[in-house]
């Protein structure tokens, strides 16, 4: 009798218990700016990640395991970011996703490095990957890759001999300014005015008047998304009619939405865009729009690609080894044929920088129009 009960118990346990693969999920923690000055960028990044996780889980997960994603809001605060990264590691995250703003990345990246866990971020500041951190990986081009392209664009396409530089006084903005000034000098372009603004600044009237009075041939704008929109509106209010040239943050869909008519005519270099002539980008844009009811900017694409990078490296190493994940990513080239989620051939340099195609774009009629595709720097 006792034997029968034991056999029944074992049989019941075998039937009721889910398979081991379904029990264990891969935990990924996303540490990101969901409020504060970085809310626009962070929300797009988060939504891109959510879309990627849903797609991957629907296709069976990674090596048969589903992904569990957890988001922590840093409030765009470096101290909160450090605490959140530490918490993510303590909670056993497989890799750290985010943040997007360069300042909080700089303040928190040593924590993941010490824990030997890959941290995949959205930041563009050139200095981030110059510190010998073997665990930090970008999802966007670095400023040092983007600025030569912008200087060439200003010289050859805009035909500018003088430029006013407007930048935001944070790690992202300072990095951009430090990267563009030597490139402008090399291109023989004079800097008519060098205007610093503050992160979270609401009133750009005085800055727009300065830009107008500098009377340069073009204006190079290097601000975060919300500030870019406020600046463009202020510039229009002050009658600034010179070409506004910038990087991805100036031409994003959120900036276009916030700035309205003031965004028309803005042009520059974009690393990623749902309007680029890449079918996978456009398909991502449609899925994002359907799920979140607004158009993704480049940060949505970056968030999606970040998860794809983790999936690709995990399947490449055929195991869930945190340190091995970083080792596999470093120096890798990921193609859409190997991992469709990466969408475009992406080369990861040894220092965590990326190399891939990028685009020249212009805002026309409230839409970002891609004008040209620029090749990889080191194909």
């Amino acid at each position: 009798m006792q034997q029968s009960i034991l056999v029944l118990g074992i049989a019941a346990a075998a039937v009721l218990a889910p398979p081991a693969a379904a029990q264990e999920k891969i935990k990924l923690v996303n540490v990101v700016e969901l409020s504060g000055a970085g809310a626009t960028a962070g929300t797009n990044w988060k939504n891109g990640i959510d879309l990627a996780v849903a797609d991957i889980n629907a296709r069976g997960g990674v090596l048969g395991r589903q992904i569990e994603i957890v988001h922590y809001d840093t409030q765009t605060n470096p101290g909160n970011t450090r605490a959140a990264v530490q918490r993510a590691i303590d909670e056993g995250t497989y890799a750290v996703l985010g943040p997007v703003f360069s300042g909080p990345i700089g303040a928190s990246m040593q924590i993941a490095q010490r824990a030997e866990i890959a941290q995949i971020v959205g930041g563009e500041a050139a200095g981030l990957t110059r510190q010998g951190n073997q665990y930090l990986f970008r999802t966007s081009l670095s400023q040092s890759a983007a600025m030569p392209k912008i200087a060439a664009y200003l010289k050859n396409t805009v035909k500018a001999s003088s430029v006013t530089v407007v930048w935001v006084n944070n790690d992202f903005g300072k990095g951009g300014r430090d990267a563009i000034l030597p490139e402008l000098q090399k291109a023989g372009i004079r800097v008519a005015a060098d205007i610093s603004t503050e992160q979270g600044q609401a009133d750009f009237a005085a800055d727009a008047i300065k830009v107008k009075n500098a009377n340069a041939d073009a204006v190079f704008v290097y601000l975060n998304e919300e500030e870019s929109a406020r600046f463009l509106r202020a510039a229009k209010q002050q009658g600034v009619d010179k070409p506004m040239v910038g990087e991805t943050t100036l031409l994003g869909s959120k900036v276009i939405e916030l700035a309205g008519d003031a965004a028309n005519g803005v042009r520059g270099h974009v690393g990623l865009s749902i309007d680029a002539p890449v079918p996978a980008f456009q398909e991502f844009g449609r899925k994002f729009q359907a799920r979140f009811n607004y158009a993704s900017d480049h940060n949505g694409l970056k968030g999606y690609m970040a998860v794809a990078m983790i999936k690709w490296a995990t399947e490449k190493q055929r195991k869930f080894d945190k340190k091995g994940l970083a080792d596999t990513l470093r120096g890798a080239t990921i193609t859409p044929a190997e991992e469709p989620g990466i969408m475009i051939t992406t080369k990861i340099e040894a220092n965590g920088d990326l190399d891939r195609e990028s685009y020249l774009a212009e805002v026309e009629g409230g839409r970002q129009i891609i004008k040209a595709t620029l090749p990889m720097i080191n194909p």
Binding site: D207, K236, Q237
Partner: protein, 292 residues
């Protein structure tokens, strides 16, 4: 000179918004002898309510604007007095001041969690065009802000000084006990003051949000500058709030232009310290004496 005029007009426009918010400080001070630390959030929230009505309820902008303003005045004029001021003031001004700090956080976080943490575009009443005058381009939005704010403040000043109800409001603020003996409905006058404060905050919100974009954190800067403006102008005078607001706006604009954007926040604070040392009652304020 043209450049200076451009900075001056931009500063006057921003200053007009500070003045509208600063008047709220003076009104609450006069009726409750306390400081409403949620005043900046009072300017932030109406725009958020209007956008929420447009985006979540699908209402046309003009309907949403009317509903949003009415809802705001009801909640944060009438409701603020009944739910926060009346119960707290019995325990002294300090609990009330602390309650307004808590209200400030609740309004900010409520706007963030209930609507969105991202900045939102807010429709403008006037086009984003410029007019040329004396060799400078002047934004129509800036002109509209200055005119509307000055008209509103002028109307308030006229109402307070030239109408029977306004004089009753003043009497209630100056000495509620004597006003009550004279048959003035003091409770109604105090309520009217809070409703006017909410209406001015809603007006400031509609004027500034097309420029700043509607965002839950907008109240931080506006509240700080309006507070400085109220002290600079004189906490117990409406015209003082106007002068203080315009002064702070112009100084902020000139500081951003001729000193540094990084230090622009510090310059009005320096002005504040100077006023406190030289003329503690403010530029237009009356000296007040209290029994202890």
């Amino acid at each position: 000179m043209a450049e200076f005029l451009a900075y001056l007009i931009a500063g006057l426009a921003t200053g007009a918004i500070y003045a509208l918010a600063a008047i709220g400080f003076t009104l609450v001070w006069q009726t409750s002898q306390t400081i409403n630390f949620a005043q900046g959030e009072f300017v932030m929230l109406p725009a958020i309510l209007i956008l929420a009505a447009v985006k979540l309820a699908g209402l046309p902008v003009w309907v949403a604007a009317i509903l949003g303003i009415v809802a705001f005045i009801a909640l944060f004029g009438w409701g603020f007095k009944l739910v926060i001021v009346d119960p707290m003031i019995r325990h002294g001004v300090l609990p009330l001041a602390i309650a307004t700090m808590a209200l400030s956080i609740i309004m900010k976080e409520g706007a963030k969690d209930g609507f969105t943490a991202e900045a939102q575009r807010f429709p403008s009443l006037v086009p984003q065009e410029t007019v040329s005058l004396l060799g400078i381009s002047i934004s129509l939005q800036h002109i509209a802000i200055i005119i509307v704010a000055c008209l509103a403040i002028g109307a308030l000043q006229w109402f307070v000084t030239r109408t029977k109800t306004g004089r009753q409001m003043q009497a209630s603020a100056q000495n509620p006990n004597v006003a009550l003996i004279l048959g003035i409905p003091v409770a109604q006058m105090v309520m009217l003051t809070f409703l006017i404060n909410a209406a001015l905050a809603a007006l400031a919100s509609i004027l500034i949000s097309p420029i700043y974009l509607a965002k839950f954190s907008n109240g931080e800067v506006i509240g700080l500058f309006a507070f400085i403006a109220a002290i600079v102008g004189g906490f117990n005078q409406v015209r003082g709030a106007l002068a203080g607001g315009l002064s702070v706006g112009v100084i902020d604009s000139l500081a951003a232009a001729y000193i540094s954007t990084s230090y622009r926040l510090a310059v009005p604070l320096v002005l504040l310290v100077g006023i406190i040392l030289i003329k503690p009652e403010g530029l237009f304020g009356r000296k007040e004496e209290r029994g202890v």
